[in-house]
Amino acid sequence: MAENSYVFGRERRLAPPPSEPGTLNRWIDRRKYVDSFLRAVLDEAIPGGASLAYVFGSGLLYLLLSQVITGMFLVLYYVPSADHAHTTVAYITKEVTSGSFIRSIHAYGSSAIVIVLLLHVTQTFLFGSYKGRRKLLWLAGCALFALMLGMSFTGYLLPWDQKAYFATTVGTNILTYIPFVGNSLKSLLRGGTEMGTLTLSRFFVLHVFLIPAFIFAFVAIHVFMFRRAGPAGPVQGEPEALKQSTEPFYPKQVLYDLIFAVLIIAGLGLLAHYAPVDLGPKANPADTQYVPRPEWYYIPVFQWLKYWESGLAVLGILVIPAFVGLLFVALPFLDRRPERRPWKRPVSVSIYGFVFIALGALGAISHRHDLRDPSIAPQLAKQRADVEAFMKKPFEPELSGPSLIAATVALTNPVAAKGKKVFDQEGCAECHGEDLTGTSAAPTLIGVGDKRDSAKLESILKQPTDAMTDGGMTPVELNDEDLKNLIVFLKALK
């Protein structure tokens, strides 16, 4: 079909300027502007009529709005620093009212955007709607695609749990494959050679300020260009017939779009309610066993990277993906025939299909490997168990100056002060830490008195449990008075 079969004039007549400058008149006149604005928005003409195939673009707009709102609310409690990020996300997830729900809507929302984006791109591709005067529209869409992937990559690090930390370590390391500037780029993104609190700050700024600013700009450009070019309409049909069956955006297409939005809301709401997203233990850079896995939509790329040995890595990791990406972006310039029917465009449709099938296959292979590899599967199972165990623990507030607590206890209670002396003499601090917050060898003792009564403390001090013995705890041998004082000291550690 000829793409120019339907030309839609864009000039809109606005209400005439007010003849009498009365307040009421002005107010009414402003309403006329509102009316003309609504008209401009709602009377968009759709050649061939409304269709369920056109709901994805507005679905993406809805999802973007949802991400912006939930994101703004999450920042009420989130702190972008390596010290506090994990605690604050745990606070949101475990303690704040509706916190887990809102965080889940935000996290699942990012996956939903990827899914709807792929549907939107596929619809655009199959309908050939990128052709002719919609070339720039396609380019703006490609920019939005890249920006969305940037959003999900930067957002993934923010909870600062194990999977966030290690997935981002791998993700940023990929930059080093870029010849000459790779290392510098990586350091720039990380704010240093290592991952740390500056990395988190940078990712936060990208995720919350920089990329969203570009997204808003490109969404505006994308929507503006779309309204300029007009909807492409169905892939076939006589121009005159389509002209006859043209239908305004409102009400039918609005209704379809709203139904799709409600489906998205219901889907995300049910998922967030019944399967809220979890949070793993805090990132531990010293963990050498951890097997990182990226978000599901990056899994195919992750699998792809496995096939490239060092010599050819640049080819596989940079050249081929860059080539595929360029092919995708340049589609409207390579495929210039006005033909829009997909069955008359076998080459481009098969390439498009092949890329998607290949990505799906890579994802499936990765999943199969993870299930079968004896060195990977148990570790992944352990990681899942760790996440589950962490989610079951109640929220632990971050202690501000715990050594202060120990000192205070010793200062105010003379019996506890004697107990503190015993604690120091026995060398308990070697494993439990000078500030009593624990080390890698033994857990924190702050709050130990809340969990166990004095009798229980006495019995486990004299005869540690198996788990404690495995951790290196030895039975405490003290006279009754020292033991009593030590227990008073431990009980006072709140």
């Binding site: 003409a45 506090h84 009212t97 002209k243 069956s245 305004p248 929220f395 971050e398 501000s400 209670n413």
Partner: protein, 194 residues
């Protein structure tokens, strides 16, 4: 079909007519009703979605965060010799959002006419400044608005609505313990706030 605005009349022509300003005016009944229905539906869904957002926003206001427990002030023996009010510091553990903090609070320990120990909060019941003890005046003076109190906390003069707030105390194993609390400002009788 010359004007682009008229192109989509097609299906809806039966309910449309040309308005005086060149605008197409549709029959109000069907489109207006549908519009109202959709707006109401969208507003309803929006209201529903904002419920978790409001609960999220109001979380700190709807949960009590500060703990109130008995704190040791000092041994009763040491405090027995007190003649004029002495300032003591207690450390109060508080939940501050996702943190647990230890904040220092000042209080005064003194003896009443019968020789019994008493403790007073140093927070002025007027607008919350810290009250200081002045030996030479033998009275408490609030530095902000010149509220004055006797050595046992009674209001002498100035803007405060009531005397200094007395704190609950007890003696356990020879140690003076205090139950530190905050009280509402600007009311004539003391009222505990969380």
């Amino acid at each position: 079909m010359n004007h682009p605005e008229e192109m989509f009349i097609g299906k809806t022509a039966d309910i449309s007519q040309e308005g005086c300003g060149g605008y197409r005016i549709t029959s109000p009944s069907r489109r207006t009703f549908l519009g109202l229905l959709l707006s109401a539906g969208a507003a309803g869904v929006g209201a529903l979605l904002s419920v978790p957002l409001f609960r999220f926003l109001l979380h700190p206001l709807l949960t009590a965060t500060s703990s109130s427990s008995w704190k040791e002030v000092g041994t009763a023996e040491d405090l027995a010799s007190v003649t004029s009010p002495v300032k003591k510091l207690v450390k109060i553990e508080q939940r501050d959002g996702w943190r647990k903090i230890v904040s220092e609070k000042a209080l005064y320990v003194c003896k009443d006419a019968t020789g019994q120990l008493r403790a007073f909060s140093s927070v002025c019941p007027h607008l919350g400044c810290s009250i200081a003890w002045h030996d030479e005046k033998n009275s408490f003076v609030c530095p902000c608005h010149n509220g004055q109190f006797t050595a046992d906390g009674k209001l002498l003069g100035g803007p405060p609505p009531r005397g200094m707030d007395q704190l609950e105390i007890k003696i356990e194993d020879g140690v003076l313990m205090v139950h530190y609390q905050n009280f509402r400002q600007l009311v004539p009788h003391k009222e505990v706030i969380a």
